[in-house]
């Protein structure tokens, strides 16, 4: 067969703009407006791919999202898309197109012999064999055979897809005749309509079927509708696929744009009209997958819209009147047409060879149709166009919760009224034909008579079903190679539920999402089990309506925009001071300063901080102001340690427990005055602590007597620590009031407040200096100069980690886990003494809370310089190995000159002084259990 281009037809193509691309290395010419499918068809290329399992040669079947066979890898410049449907990919110059699942190419695939083995590869054959060895021995071979296109490993998305949120009053999906009529009527009545269609132009089936509306060519009505919609404040969105219906009236739309990256829209629509038309069903006969077998509607589309004539001697097989238009159009275009109609009472076709009561039982040909067998007679032909009726496109209806009814008159599953708020019209509602489409569309929003047409209705048809008794292989799902025999086998083996059928045979699971195969499968299962279609059931429809690029759904959330970090006010200044940043608890913070190995720098910083002085940026520490007459009462309930007894001007360390008794957070609470506290939550727990405080405030304490303000992000806290702390602060010109340990005071500095809290996370004398963000740079600069004079250093979080570990201070979430209770950490006082209620109290007294095998906080001492790995487990020194706990933090201490380690150890405090095993990746060393505090155990440096 050779394809050809009709001299005049082809409303979508622009013959003045030639385009070309390569397909499997062969240069193919086309025009602007062509799809890959139409160009290939016009050039007579008929083997476009190979089937998934049997590697059968395949040509075009359909014209849009229903195409199961023509799937290509398409490259254009930087862009690469595997598994593109030829029917929906617009031809662009210089595209490099290759067939998938074929080697070296579709025409000469070396796996074509697979088809000879088909008898041994029935549906689900893999469940019955490949069991002699482990599956993984067979798997590489299977996996190489499977899959369609190829991922380009070097691919990087050239641009990101923006996500947009939109609201609309009336969304009409589909701009065929029914959608146009609905949009026209709604716009006329003043509604702001969004009219959406996945094609490039309005019109839908009208482009191929044509028609007169209100006495003129339909295009005049389409133009009038466009004008009316825009005039009423609506929008027209072409090249846009509404691919999902979600909760609360949200619809997702994939917008393809010629002048920029695609868009992903989340449209919240008050009212939605489904005008998505219908899809033509195939016919079932032997070799119905042969290249040259095509849908009637597709053949008409290719002829009228692209001028591509897909054959010269054409056999049309049908059982409905709609195909007659196709036959006469093809005949008019110069093809030799034979019309085979299953109906004995078929209408007469003028000027066309017609066979009534004609049953097509087989197609013949090796790689392309050469003849058709009709009523036992061979009829030579180079193309078979067939129609087994129409299936309404009800995806959105069903996604939104709508149910379906079997309509025997229309021979289709149609929307059951009242089961969804969406409004189906036209062919999507089972109302076939132009007249019905216009009428149902208009009736929704218009008064009186709608647009008139001279089109003939209704479209008479006889139901067509697969015939299990027919010899030969009849394809039900073309891409996944499921035949009618496979359906029979599934039924025999008990997979009679439609879902089981799908899963067992993979029917309907291909990239065409079952558009041509789902009804066929249902009808086939009904046929082989002797049930009706409604008895057999329906499958579930879920988004996406058609395959949507992952890049569209992902949008711009990657890189900088993926889980963004909070950033320090002084980030730029830290940068200038040589900071190297890392993520800690949702904030980007200096890990170390300077050039060189990170571990060495941290050691150096930790040493200088102990020997002289260090400053670190502690701004991410939460600052939740709890203000009101109920503040003390609130904090007493939410904290393990009581805070109402705290004196103004003082701070106290405390835990917040979850109701399960687990330590949720730790931190210092400052009391500034009688009614004003500040909770220093861990940087990563600010929101969580706030939520727990609010819960107790609103539900328990009384929301009018205490309020919570989170002012963390507006303030900057610089912590000065080390023996020369006082010198550094004094050298910065800050007049430090005399403060005891855990004292806090606010004093003015540079016209704003400076809050000084003498709190130590290092065990050395330390002051937290907190100022508003606008004063931070001034404070930093003063301190920096003074620090340099004193010989101190800015220290990063890695050094801070070492310093606090030397003292045995915990880090929530690192040194505690989801089982750690306060008494495990040595804080038994409140549990034993508090009579009042507090968060998590009751859980401390469960059998597990009181168990003697709880893991407790201890230190470990090792011999030698090798630091035991964090994450090592502790095990008994003899007897069977079992975990007694694990190391939560370990470092080399530059100040002690030896490794230190902290651990949670079963009954650990009682084991202090004994030896346990330390297990890491199979090797074991002995460690001594010691007190968690390794450095300055008598706390002499706190006031040093």
């Amino acid at each position: 067969m050779s394809g050809s281009r009709h001299a005049e037809l082809g409303r979508f193509i622009d013959r003045s703009q030639p385009r070309s691309f390569t397909f499997d290395g062969q240069r193919i010419a086309g025009f602007a407006g062509d799809t890959l499918a139409s160009a290939l068809l016009a050039n007579g290329v008929h083997i476009l791919g190979r089937s998934f399992k049997y590697h059968r040669p395949r040509g075009l079947w359909g014209m849009g999202a229903d195409e199961p066979n023509a799937i290509f890898d398409v490259r254009l410049g930087q862009e690469h898309r595997p598994n593109q449907r030829a029917t929906t990919t617009l031809l662009e110059d210089a595209m490099v197109v290759t067939s998938v699942n074929a080697n070296p190419n579709a025409a000469k695939d070396r796996f074509r012999l697979m088809d000879r083995l088909h008898r041994f590869l029935p549906a689900g054959f893999y469940y019955k064999t490949f069991m002699a060895l482990d599956w993984i021995r067979y798997e590489p071979m299977i996996r190489r055979m499977a899959g369609l296109g190829r991922v380009d490993p070097g691919y990087a998305p050239p641009a990101d897809v923006p996500h947009l949120v939109a609201v609309c009053d009336l969304l009409i999906v589909g701009a065929g005749p029914s959608g146009l009529a609905a949009a026209h009527a709604a716009a006329q009545s003043g509604r702001a309509v969004w009219l959406v269609d996945d094609a490039a132009q309005l019109g839908g089936s009208l482009h191929r079927r044509g028609g007169q509306i209100d006495g003129a060519d339909w295009t005049a009505f389409a133009d009038a509708t466009r004008y009316a919609v825009l005039n009423a404040g609506g929008r027209i969105l072409c090249n846009t696929t509404v691919w999902g219906a979600f909760d609360h009236n949200v619809f997702s739309a994939w917008v393809r744009r010629l002048d920029g990256p695609d868009q992903h829209m989340r449209i919240r629509a008050a009212e939605v009209v489904v005008a998505t038309g219908a899809i033509e069903r195939p016919l079932w006969f032997a070799n119905n997958d042969l290249p040259g077998v095509m849908s009637c509607e597709a053949a008409l589309e290719f002829l009228q819209c692209y001028g591509a004539l897909p054959g010269q001697r054409i056999l049309i097989a049908t059982a409905n009147d709609a195909s007659y238009t196709v036959a006469s159009a093809l005949a008019k275009a110069g093809a030799e047409v034979t019309l085979v109609d299953q109906r004995h009472d078929a209408p007469d076709a003028d000027d066309i060879t017609q066979i009534k009561s004609g049953i097509l039982t087989a197609a013949k040909g090796k790689t392309h149709v050469q003849s058709a067998v009709v009523n036992g007679q061979d009829i030579p032909c180079d193309a078979i166009f067939c129609s087994g009726g129409y299936t309404p496109t009800v995806h959105l209806w069903c996604q939104s919760g709508g149910k379906l009814d079997w309509d025997a008159d229309q021979d289709a599953l149609v929307p059951r009224p009242g089961t969804s708020s969406l409004k189906p019209i036209g062919a999507a509602a089972g109302q076939f034909g132009l007249k019905a489409a216009l009428a149902t569309g208009h009736a929704l929003f218009g008064n009186g008579n709608g647009p008139e047409t001279d089109a003939v209705t209704p479209r008479a048809q006889a139901p067509v079903r697969p015939d299990p008794n027919l010899p030969g292989r009849q394809w039900i799902d073309m891409q996944n190679d499921v035949t009618l025999k496979d359906v029979g086998l599934a039924a025999r083996e008990g997979f009679t539920s439609v879902e089981h059928l799908k899963r067992y045979t993979t029917l309907g699971m291909a990239t065409d999402q079952g558009r041509t195969s789902n009804f066929a499968g249902l009808a086939a299962m009904a046929a082989v089990t002797g049930r009706t279609i409604p008895e057999t059931g329906t499958t579930t429809y879920r988004p996406p309506f058609e395959p949507v690029p992952l890049s569209v759904i992902a949008g711009r959330r990657r890189g900088d925009l993926f889980n963004p970090l909070k950033r320090l006010s002084l980030e730029a200044a830290h940068c200038d001071m040589g900071a190297r940043f890392r993520e800690y608890g949702g904030w980007l913070r200096p890990a170390v300063y300077g050039v060189g190995a990170e571990a060495d720098l941290a050691q150096k910083e930790a040493k200088i901080a102990r020997d002289i002085a260090g400053i670190f940026d502690a701004s991410p520490l939460g600052k939740l102001e709890v203000i009101g007459t109920g503040a003390g009462k609130l904090l007493d309930f939410t904290g393990y340690m009581r805070m109402s007894t705290l004196k103004p001007g003082r701070a106290r360390y405390g835990f917040m427990l979850a109701e399960s008794g687990i330590v949720y957070d730790d931190g210092v609470v400052l009391r500034l005055d009688e009614n004003r506290f500040i909770v220093s939550a861990s940087s990563s727990h600010v929101d969580g602590v706030r939520a727990r405080l609010e819960d107790a405030r609103q539900d328990r304490i009384g929301h009018r007597h205490v309020y919570i303000h989170d002012v963390t992000q507006g303030l900057v806290t610089l912590t000065v620590t080390g023996p020369k702390t006082l010198d550094v602060i004094a050298g910065a010109g800050i007049d430090l009031p005399d403060l005891p340990h855990m004292g806090v005071v606010e004093t003015p500095l540079d016209g704003h407040f400076l809050r000084v809290a003498r709190i130590s996370f290092t065990g050395d004398r330390s002051y937290e200096l907190t100022v508003p963000g606008r004063n931070a740079e001034g404070l930093r600069a003063r301190l920096d100069a003074s620090l340099k004079n004193a010989g101190g250093k800015w220290i990063g979080l890695e050094a801070v980690m070492i310093l606090r570990a030397e003292k045995g201070f915990i880090l929530i979430g690192k040194d505690t886990d989801g089982n750690t209770m306060p008494h495990d950490l040595g804080w038994v006082g409140p549990m034993n003494k508090r009579d009042d209620e507090y968060l998590g109290k009751r859980a401390l007294f469960t059998p597990e809370g009181q168990s003697e095998t709880r893991r407790q906080w201890v230190g470990l001492r090792v011999t030698g310089d090798a630091v035991p790995e964090t994450g090592s487990h502790l095990i008994p020194t003899d007897g069977p190995r079992r975990s007694l706990g694990f190391i939560t933090s370990s470092y080399f201490s530059p100040n002690l000159g030896r490794p230190i380690a902290l651990a949670l150890l079963e009954n650990g405090r009682a084991l202090v002084g004994t030896t346990v095993g330390c297990f890491n990746d199979g090797s074991v060393r002995n460690v001594e259990v010691v007190d968690a505090c390794a450095f300055d155990p008598d706390w002499s440096r706190l006031n040093g």
């Binding site: 595997p82 029935p122 499977a146 998305p157 990239t511 395959p547 992902a554 959330r557 990657r558």
Partner: protein, 416 residues
Amino acid sequence: MQHYSAFSLARHALSHHKNWQSAWRKADPKPRYDAVIIGGGGHGLSTAYYLAKNHGMKRVAVLERGWIGGGNTGRNTTAVRSNYFYPESVALYDLSLRLYEGLSKELNYNIMLSQRGMLIAAHTPIQMEICNRIANAMQLNGVDGRLMTAAEAEEKAPLVNKSKGARYKCMGGIWQDRAGTARHDAVAWGYARAASAMGIDIIENCEVTEVFTSSGAVAGVETTRGKIQTERLGVAAAGATPGLVQMVGGDLPIHNYDLQAFVSEPVKPCLDTVLLYLGTGTYVSQSDKGELVIGGGLDRVPTHGQKGNLPTQETVISGLLEMFPAFAQLKLLRQWAGVVDVVPDSSPVIGPVGPEGMFVNCGWGTGGFKAIPAGGYLLAHLLATGEHHDISRPFDLNRFAQGRLIDEAAGSGIAH
């Protein structure tokens, strides 16, 4: 039971596969059984199988309200693994993995267990320390787990994001060799076929509407297909379990959420392992058919609706592309949601509940598929003996009153 093999396939090919029998009998309910199992998913079917095989109980019915394997068994990302922290969890999940390892041969049904390994990838030094904690716990509990370096990880998944702008670099993580995937439907069908062959009645389209008790013990159930008497009732109905237990006045520590999964169009092999990124929470593997099978976090709105929602889809898919920028060239083919029954400590509830003779196996949350063999094995033990197996005892409902939760997320520190 007809034996399945390459030879039998060839033999049946000669008769055009016309002589294959139904994989499982389509049974009608009898008035009375020694034990009734509610739920024809993987857990219910494996319970029936092990009741017959391990305990010789064959007068047993599995009641399924729809079609077998149609719930979470057929709505997951098919990963199997035992990379857990607590000894109790490891005992449970590794029992499951060991049973999986022999299952194709045992059931004479290819469940396509593909032990291609799984990596839980870390991105910061602190996460690596926690991975080390888990890897060591696995080793001490006798399971193959180890800490993997960044270089090794890159070898396992060469397409991971290595660009300068990558939000999360793969620094390595926890590796388990024996982890992998299995064909989910085959697990349900294989158990059903083997159980049916031993005489168990698998009754589809049969919904339980009432549970009868008599003097504090189970007496039977009312169903849409009639009344059935039994004194032993096993419930393995995932999200429907709380409703069934409430029929006899009990409550369970369960919330139901949607868990979504996603499948891309099939492509030639491009990922040969199961990979979970701690940073994105997205996990992915490639099926034998070539599709990427993608999962992520829960939709955090309690629901019984089995319907995925957009925000979670966007989060999971953006996570995938952050891990593998090259996958941006692929398309989403299918998406679905399963209603998962989530317990506060994310560990299952296995044990007696309510009247005497009633036992549940539920609360698997996002991890039920990998536990199917063990879940059935242990529930069968309870139903047959009335007593816990040592492995199921820690998972009894009484752990909540004792405060003895088995919280993996908390134990590993990863989700804490």
